[in-house]
């Protein structure tokens, strides 16, 4: 039997074993993880930094003015609650143009991008992230006067992280 045939055969066997167990939880542990996903964590924050640099466009970010609420430990890495908001009052003359959230070590670090308008009058958002492992989460917000605010926080993901 050729080696290229091997994985298929293994999967068939595992599938059969799963069926025998009632197919509710055919696999457990690392083996299931390996079969279930091709997602890999970033080795470092380089890709995240590249996206951040693109967003900054040469402007130095300010460490104040953007608040981030993130639990220190995430018991469910598939849904980690995160809130980010600009703390100063926003008016019709000063607003947040764009806000990005980076999950530094996720396969695709750019989690999402928000855009607001002068009509919004606030920059306060919350969402749920899924994290592949423990990492730092970073947010950058560009205001209409050109300032860029930055906030970051570390989160410890529970068992093994989310397989994406």
């Amino acid at each position: 039997m050729t080696s290229s045939f091997e994985p298929d055969r293994r999967r068939v066997l595992l599938g059969a074993a799963g069926a025998a167990l009632g197919a509710a939880l055919p696999l457990s542990g690392a083996r299931a993880q390996e079969l279930a996903t091709t997602a890999e964590a970033q080795p470092d924050a380089a890709e995240s930094d590249r996206i951040a640099a693109e967003f900054l466009g040469g402007v130095a970010p300010l460490a104040e003015g953007l608040a981030m609420e993130l639990p220190a430990t995430a018991d469910n890495p598939a849904a980690v609650p995160l809130r980010v908001h600009v703390t100063e009052a926003l008016t019709e003359d000063l607003w947040c143009e764009e806000l990005i959230i980076l999950a530094e070590l996720n396969p695709l670090p750019l989690a999402c991008r928000y855009r607001f308008s002068a009509a919004t009058g606030a920059a306060d958002v919350a969402l749920r992230l899924r994290l592949i492992r423990s990492m730092e989460v970073r947010a950058l917000a560009r205001l209409s006067d050109g300032r860029v605010l930055e906030a970051r926080a570390a989160v410890e993901a529970g068992v093994g992280g989310c397989g994406m």
Partner: protein, 110 residues
């Protein structure tokens, strides 16, 4: 995707300028495109690609989510109620799903 979004707003009759908070959640698989089926074939990516919220025609917020967003995406945002009108929300995904929700906002007299 047949279920309507779950929607909560802090006030439907705010004072002028009051900050209104909106929380809304839809059912969506948020298939990342990284997962494999039992035959080892990748499952086709199906992520939410866009969410937007408008008050009448004015854009309040637009959101471009990615693979790092949880299933059944939860969106919370705030805006200043400067006029009465219809708060309209729209979701789009990779497979062409289109979901809408709206809520009337009426400024209460000062």
């Amino acid at each position: 995707m047949s279920r309507p979004p779950r929607l909560w707003i802090s006030s439907a009759t705010p004072a002028k300028g009051e900050i209104i908070r909106v929380r809304v959640q839809i059912q969506h698989v948020m298939e990342s495109g990284f997962r494999l089926d039992w035959n080892g074939a990748p499952l086709e990516r199906n992520l939410l690609t866009r969410f937007e919220a408008r008050l009448n025609e004015t854009l309040l917020m637009e959101w471009e989510p990615g693979a790092s967003i949880s299933q059944n995406p939860y969106v919370e945002f705030a805006f200043a109620a400067r006029e009465s009108g219809t708060l309209r929300m729209l979701w789009l995904d990779d497979r062409g799903m289109r979901l809408e929700a709206e809520r009337e906002i009426i400024l209460s007299p000062a």
